[in-house]
């Protein structure tokens, strides 16, 4: 029935136009919803930013070999012998001289000072060979120069410079008894590598008494994503106890470390949404009560009770969606792009940005919509069942 739709539409328009009359009550509902959405999106944006940073770190073109079950570069050890054997594995890309492209790397943790809190934090120092630069084609020296193999020289990621003190270009840094000089700053396009300090692998091996062991081996894959040849070789040799993964898979797993935050954020927001729901219900019941005569009059004129129902429901939904949008905008304006750092899976600081996304925005609006729906449906039911005789009774 076309006229039912136009009835409903008329009532919706009327209700929404009369919102200013119930300004404070309506604002209370909007505010409650916006706070809930802002809380939710803050947690989601944090987890999302962390995940995106680590997801952007790993490449499908690179294979990473580590000790079985180590789960992080810090815990892993790979011997020189194993590296020599694996370098011959099929599936590793070769350079112009037909040598396999790989990098044996070390990963040790040193102290840094977090700028915002002036407290000591764990920073990763990566020992890397020149092959490691061939592998990582996104690396760019943005200031200073490359370290020289065999010397105590460091280059530092941009994220380190932004978040931590003591690693400015030209600075001398002491790790225990050894002194190192910062000679360059590098960028990798926003990945977790930018939270690291890099130095020559063999120098790190000597200065940190690592003998001939490394911690991980990275190889350039002939065919992106295809690690089968290397895996086969590692599994066939009983002396090896190694995991082979693409770097992308490795970092994706580390990126899930903040999944708990997502669950926590959702749990908390849902509980708080129940509080906001109480507010929405309160607002909408009050709205129905204050519109009682209007609703009954329309019914007397011949409007159906469906129009009263949907009119009320729409009012509630409009309020909560406004709240949702406000909450999302506030969290976008105040949090999107804010830089933070936390301990990652490798026991070292990972610098990341809070990142809002359309998907997160959608989540926030859906939560708001649910509050609006549930908060509207019961009062709407009451509106639909208001006796028409109410229209004659306002002469108290």
């Amino acid at each position: 029935m076309g006229s039912l739709l136009s009835q409903i539409w008329t009532v919706i328009v009327m209700n929404i136009r009369s919102l200013p009359k119930r300004l404070w009550m309506s604002l209370a509902a909007v505010f409650a919803v916006s706070v809930v959405v802002a809380v939710l999106l803050s947690f989601l944006a944090m987890a999302n930013g962390f995940e995106q940073t680590l997801a952007g770190t790993g490449s499908e073109k690179i294979g990473i070999i580590s000790r079985k079950g180590s789960r992080s570069e810090l815990n892993s050890t790979v011997s020189r012998d194993n590296i020599n054997i694996l370098a011959t594995a099929p599936g590793i890309a070769r350079d112009a001289d037909n040598n396999p492209v790989y990098s044996a790397e070390l990963y040790v943790i040193v102290n840094g000072i977090k700028r915002t809190t002036q407290t000591e934090v764990n920073l990763p120092l990566r020992g890397i060979s020149l092959g490691g630069f061939e592998l990582r084609d996104t690396v760019e020296i943005v200031a200073g120069r490359q370290f020289e193999p065999g010397r105590n020289e460091l280059i530092v990621g941009q994220g380190v410079l932004a978040e931590f003190d003591g690693f400015e270009l030209g600075r001398e840094v002491r790790f225990g008894k050894t002194t190192w000089k910062v000679v360059g700053v590098f960028s990798t396009g926003g990945s977790a590598f930018e939270s690291e300090l890099w130095a020559d692998a063999l120098t790190v091996q000597t200065q940190f008494q690592r003998g001939t062991t490394f911690q991980t081996m990275r190889v350039l894959l002939e065919e992106p994503g295809n690690i089968e040849g290397i895996k086969q070789l590692a599994e066939d040799d009983p002396r090896m106890n190694l995991d082979v993964e693409t770097e992308a898979a490795y970092f994706a797993e580390q990126g899930s470390a903040l999944r708990g935050i997502v669950v926590f954020g959702w749990g908390l927001s849902i509980v708080m949404a129940l509080g906001a729901l109480a507010g929405a219900l309160n607002t909408m019941y009050t709205s129905v009560a204050s519109r009682g005569t209007e609703i009954a009059t329309l019914r007397a004129i011949g409007f159906s009770n469906m129009s009263a129902f949907f009119g009320t429901l729409a009012e509630s939904i409009v309020l909560s969606i406004i709240g949702g949008i406000v909450g999302a905008l506030v969290s976008y304006l105040f949090l999107d792009g804010v830089t933070a750092s936390t301990l990652g899976a490798s026991f070292s600081q990972v610098v990341f940005d809070f990142q809002m996304s359309p998907q997160l925005f959608k989540n926030g609006i859906i939560l708001a919509l649910i509050i609006g729906l549930v908060g509207g449906v019961f009062p709407a039911w009451r509106a639909a069942r208001l006796p028409v005789t109410l229209a004659f009774k306002n002469s108290m």
Partner: protein, 384 residues
Amino acid sequence: MSSLYLVFKNLTRSKLRLFLTLFATFIAFMVYGTLTAFQMALNAGVELSADDRLIVVNKIHFTQSLPISHFNKVKSVEGVDAVTHLNWFGGYYQDPQKLFTMMAVDPESFLDVYDDYVLTPAEAEAWLKNRQGLIAGESVARTFGWKVGDRIPINSNIFSQRDGSTVWDFDVVAIYRGKDEQSDSNSVYFHYKYFNETQSFGGNFIGWMGVRTTSPDKNEQVVNAIDDLFANTPAETDTMPEVAFNKAFIEQIGNIGLILTSVVVAAFFIILVIVGNSMVLSIRERTNEIGVMKTLGFTSPAIFRMVLAESVAIAMIGGLLGLLAARGLIHLISNAPIQLPPLIMDGTSVFKAILIMLALGLITGIVPAVNALRLNIVTALSRS
């Protein structure tokens, strides 16, 4: 009939509205109670740190090891009452994702320096005697279903045995409780000797040392003495009070305190607005009645107090129920098979919560109470 009776009658006149405002308050205080418990648990490591304990780590970083010879040298430093050493093992049971704190220690000196672990003399004895014995905290034992007498295989994600295997077998000889309700019971400790003899990395290194000084006043002196002792050796040390170490470690994770506090403040803001508005409305609806009461001889201050009593009652009832629910929730979480630091709600946080309830009650009631106070009888009765 007292005015308290009137307050009660006013409160309950609209059952639905009362329920909704109580519910909003309830939720906010449940969030407060639970998050406060989390925050306290996070700080517990700092709060429970002993004044007379120091930590000695490698100066480069605490993940770098120290030679075991350092241990013997520290023993004889003046002002050191007892010293023990620990090695991080990177242990996991079955699932590599479920890491827990597992350390190789020298049991005798460990139990001496760290008196936070409650074991009976018989249990301690059993542990000292069994080279493959481990002691596990209540929480970690519950998570994995370990019982005393179980023989369990544990993997290391760092170390290997000489034969290349990464699995060690252990006997669960005791399950310890923390001395304090908030003490950590998520850790597992086993014999350093067993570790040192079986792992393949070359032996005789330790992770760090725990030192008890003869008195907290001696701390500074001992810190300097230890660090001077190893200056200019290949493994220089950094010695600091336990509390400083724990604090720095918590802060590495990020400013969790700020996050939790913001959420709690947000929750309170929501109820402030919802309850405040609801109070304003409910008083406005009563304009006429308040006018009648005034004509009956109720003084304006009396009416003012009654309105405030109503809003404070809502905050208190909802708030206390919320705290009660938080207690239940904390209990539930603490007994769930997940590894979390022990959560508790102590007197201080309850006291703080009650202060907040009072403040919320007064703030939400003040506007309608002032409106009621100012209400002129003539306008009240004509406005219908």
